[in-house]
Symmetry: C2
Subunit: 137 residues, 2 copies
DNA sequence: CACAATCCCGACTGATTCAATCGGGATTCT
DNA sequence: AGAATCCCGATTGAATCAGTCGGGATTGTG
């Protein structure tokens, strides 16, 4: 079970933007210096923008910048924007229709519990924490 | 971000086997009554067997049974068997080669931290807990 | 022994997702 | 006007996923 490159690249880009937060909008090219394919990165930044995590300035001298302060943006926000909501069981999403399995859906409760806990964890680590290289234990 | 059906079906099957732990080996057909495609399920049980989580008895009257007691098998074991080890950054696996990114690999530490924490969580919930429908908070 | 029930296993297929590219359009600074 | 930039839908090739197929091996039962 691995994260896709979307999540990984997305976090790289966001950390970069957090580091340059005081320096005005960063053009795509600059971010892509991290070693990411730039046209692909452009797509990803589009998703981050739609999720309200980055702002863009168009035209010459334009670029991308964080839409909020680094302590208001967490890894969870980024993964959510890049890979869609974390949800271990689609069961947890179907409002309708009882679970058809004979275990009385014990599993459903577990997936919900685990999904919750993992989300708590992901939302608890912010870009600010990463910049400070906080010891996280 | 979702779990694949492998993980989900795998857990269903294991919960089923835990419930029937006292009743001898359960044939594939019986497990597939949960609503899982049986030939596919057969593959999955193969993986669970290779991971040492189930034993099989071949021949007539044969079937599958848990290889250990339900409190020795966790959701983490099952997901690991079904989907491979949880690893948010492939970076965490490459022993060689420094991370090429200019953020000094702050991200690597975060992925490692998160991977650890999520694993702790997954390995902390056992089949036994699920049978008892423990309140998990 | 023969047979049925069962597990074992590699090959295959169709659908979906992933990673990335392409081509062109719109905006804004100088 | 022109360059720098973001915007966006379409497309592609590869990988993975979900599931099927066909046949083989093992073992209890009559």
């Amino acid at each position: 079970m691995k994260l896709s490159t979307r999540g990984k690249y997305g976090l790289y880009a966001m950390v970069y933007l957090a580091q340059k937060a005081e320096e005005g909008p960063q053009p795509l090219r600059a971010i892509a210096q991290l070693g990411l394919p730039d046209q692909y990165l452009e797509q990803l930044l589009g998703s981050l923008r739609k999720a309200g995590l980055v702002n863009t300035v168009r035209g010459s001298q334009g670029g991308y910048q964080l839409a909020k302060s680094p302590d208001a943006i967490s890894v969870g926000h980024i993964i959510d924007a890049m890979e869609g909501p974390l949800n271990l069981s689609e069961c947890a999403m179907e409002g309708e229709g009882a679970c058809p399995h004979s275990d009385g859906c014990k599993t459903k409760r577990v997936w919900e519990y685990l999904t919750d806990r993992i989300n708590q964890l992901l939302y608890s680590v912010t870009l600010q924490d990463m910049l400070e290289s906080k010891e996280m234990d």
